[in-house]
């Protein structure tokens, strides 16, 4: 019992303490985004990790849930409806679930790659439809709303970002517990069975199509909750919330985190938001880094970051590292750092150079001003990358030889 409770308590503690450790308003905004993205990725992994269903259109459910939430908030602000803002994400969830009932029926009729292709077609379809009905979806500008509605209850008006963060954290905790619990139910286990061998699942009495359909509805519910939280956080919902790009981002982050572990999407959501929201403030090459990082994960660690963490934990538990392995690991990290430095240097210089015609200032990297036209920095970058990669390959061969 303690083994199950302890990680959850730690998780709750982290959620509670995070804004105290990072109190700046920019950090709060980042943490809020992480919260919604983590929930979104967790809901997505119900399909991908638990059910083996690769969907390219998950944002449909979170996006439509967000639209549902913002419309509700606007009705509440007009005075037509009395409803606590705290429960608005629930409305988002129900909207998502409803869409899951309708759209999920179409998508889950087929399995495998066909299912993936249907979701691709569906997300494009829904995206295009959203732009066709400006009354409902606000056209290009989207629908905006106000999260401060009516009188504050117990001092909570959701005006300050910190209150919004705790709302998100609360919903995240509750939903995460629910999603984890679902894995230990008959439906959850049969979903795993359908993932592993849908034909055999039929021969033990279960309709694989029905199982997938139910899983999708549940997943769409949680996605809708995340959408509702986004609506509250940003106070605006636009067409890109339901788009293929957003869906792709969810897929990217979930996969980076690791689909075979429950906490994988949590890691993925955090790392993903760090790349897209935090890194983007420091460099314009962040999309390149994200893409390169993603490909690196796909090619070297298809189990995601969670599988690395798991391996590390198991290593520690089995008695730690012997001195030789520690040396090897340190050497590997050094080589990787060299290569990374070189790549970052080269990339930043390249991006700077591409903007040089617009008369941008010389590149400021790590406190140094670098002239991107001089050959020296380029040679330095090349040397760093070459040394790093050579070192990695040598260590790799040595590691395999043992």
């Amino acid at each position: 019992m303690k083994r199950i409770l302890l990680p959850w308590l730690a998780f709750a503690l982290v959620l509670l303490a995070a804004p105290l450790v990072f109190p700046q308003s920019a950090a709060l905004s980042l943490l809020s985004q992480m919260g919604t993205m983590v929930l979104l990725c967790l809901s997505y992994n119900m399909l991908l990790g638990e059910g083996g269903m690769l969907s390219f259109g998950h944002a449909v459910y979170s996006g439509l849930g967000a639209f549902g939430a913002i419309h509700l908030m606007n009705r509440m602000a007009e005075g037509a409806l009395a409803f606590p803002v705290t429960l608005v994400p629930l409305a988002g969830g129900l909207t998502g679930a409803l869409c899951g009932v309708v759209l999920g029926y179409l998508t889950t009729r087929r399995a495998g790659t066909t299912f993936s292709m249907i979701t691709l077609g569906l997300v494009e379809l829904v995206s295009a439809c959203v732009l066709m009905f400006p009354d409902l979806f606000g056209g290009e500008g989207g629908i905006s709303g106000n999260r401060v509605i009516g009188e504050p209850v117990l001092g909570i008006s959701y005006g300050p970002q910190i209150q919004v963060y705790y709302l998100i954290a609360g919903w995240l905790l509750v939903c995460a517990v629910a999603i984890c619990a679902l894995r230990q139910t008959p439906l959850g286990r049969i979903l795993n069975a359908v993932r592993d061998n849908p034909e055999r699942a039929a021969f033990i009495g279960y309709d694989p199509q029905r199982v997938r359909y139910l899983a999708l509805i549940l997943s769409a519910f949680f996605a809708g909750v995340a959408g509702g939280l986004s609506a509250i956080n940003f106070e605006i919902v636009s067409a890109e919330y339901v788009g293929a790009l957003r869906s792709g981002t969810i897929l990217l982050f979930t996969f980076i985190g690791g689909t075979a572990y429950f906490y994988g999407p949590i890691v993925g959501g955090v790392v993903g938001v760090l790349f897209s929201s935090w890194l983007s403030a420091y460099t314009q090459a962040w999309q390149f880094y994200l893409g390169a990082f993603f490909i690196l994960i796909v090619m070297t660690t298809p189990g995601g970051l969670a599988s690395l963490i798991d391996r590390g934990l198991r290593l520690l538990r089995s008695g730690g590292l012997d001195p030789r392995m520690t040396v090897w690991l340190a050497a590997w990290l050094l080589a990787a750092l060299l290569a990374l430095t070189g790549i970052v240097l080269a990339t930043e210089m390249a991006y700077q150079a591409s903007l040089a015609d617009i008369g941008a200032a010389p590149l400021l990297l790590w406190g140094q001003a670098i002239d991107v036209r001089a050959p020296l920095p380029w040679l330095a970058a090349l040397l760093l990358v070459a040394t790093g990669v050579a070192g990695l390959r040598a260590l790799q061969r040595q590691g395999e030889g043992r």
Binding site: R110, G112, M117, L125, F133, F255, I295, V298
Partner: protein, 311 residues
């Protein structure tokens, strides 16, 4: 009559461009079993490569070299990237191409910037081929049609009437058997992938100057070619051909026809909730049509029009 004819020719041109793009994709799809999300990126690379080469060597050498160059890049990607990821399963393969498409856009923006580049139709191919009624039909449009038809013919001849084509067909459907018979199947795969990318690049060379050459061009056609491949049927060139033309014509006619149910005389009470739907013109609905077709096909006939097996 004039309208129908011009729209038909335009639709034909668009459809044939789609076919050039999707022919490579359907071959790769049937080989890998997973859709190659980076395919449209090679289309984009072809256009940019042609732009770069045409500036130095002129259009005609670029027409030949750009597809070969990009095809070579494709072969390298297959050899050093895809092959490694292949053993992890279908999902990582698919995600690899997904990440690749992301990366290629970034690289293109890095080298050539974010705005469209002035990749122009060569002076030799400017002008009007003929004038139908009062609308001019450009020479370049005719050139595009010619290249597309020649490509189709060449592909068909290669696959059906040459030895290498036979080996490719065998390796596509039964790789283990083909390997057991002594053929270098990994090399065949590399060839098919590179070839498919070269075809996409050719489409880029031809289409890039007729339409616009910019970083967003891959995303613009990316989803549509998937519709073509899936609706046409996995691995079926004939299916891709028919579907490309179907979608090309359908889109062009829809965009040109600015009618809505309301304009056709259906009574629309202004306060009715159906009002926005009934007032939608066909042109506004046009972007949705291919995806509607995709979803319907996948539900009703997942094999596609002429495919032999489900994806």
């Amino acid at each position: 009559m004039e309208f129908a004819l011009i729209t038909f020719l335009n639709g034909l041109g668009y459809g044939l461009l789609l076919f050039m793009l999707s022919s490579g994709l359907t071959l790769i799809y049937s080989m890998m079993g997973v859709p190659n999300f980076a395919h449209a990126s090679f289309y984009m690379l072809g256009a940019y490569a042609a732009y770069a080469l045409a500036g130095v060597l002129g259009f005609w050498p670029a027409l030949l070299l750009a597809p070969l160059l990009v095809g070579g890049v494709g072969a390298l990607v297959e050899h050093y990237g895809l092959r490694i990821v292949h053993r992890y399963g279908h999902v990582p393969e698919l995600l690899f191409t997904f990440g690749l498409s992301y990366l290629v856009v970034e690289l293109v923006q890095l080298v050539w910037g974010r705005s469209p580049v002035p990749y122009r139709v060569p002076p030799a191919l400017e002008g009007t081929l003929f004038t139908l009624y009062s609308t001019a039909f450009p020479v370049y449009r005719g050139f595009m049609l010619l290249v597309a038809v020649l490509m189709l013919l060449a592909l068909w001849l290669l696959l059906r009437h040459t030895r290498i084509g036979l080996v490719i067909q065998a390796a596509l459907s039964h790789p283990h058997m083909a390997e057991a018979l002594g053929h270098n199947v990994p090399r065949v795969f590399m060839l098919v992938f590179g070839g498919g990318c070269a075809l996409a690049a050719l489409a880029g060379v031809i289409g890039g100057n007729a339409f616009v050459t910019e970083p967003g061009m891959a995303a613009a056609v990316g989803s549509i070619i998937f519709v073509v491949v899936v609706v046409g049927g996995l691995g079926s060139l004939a299916g891709a051909f028919i579907t490309s033309l179907l979608i090309g014509l359908m889109q062009t006619f829809a965009v040109a026809l600015d009618v809505s149910l309301a304009s056709l005389g259906v009574q629309v009470p202004p306060a009715s909730p159906w009002a926005p739907l009934l007032c939608l013109t066909l042109a506004q609905v046009a972007p949705v049509l291919p995806y509607l077709l995709l979803v319907l096909t996948l539900i009703v006939r997942p094999k596609g029009l002429m495919g032999k097996r489900e994806g």
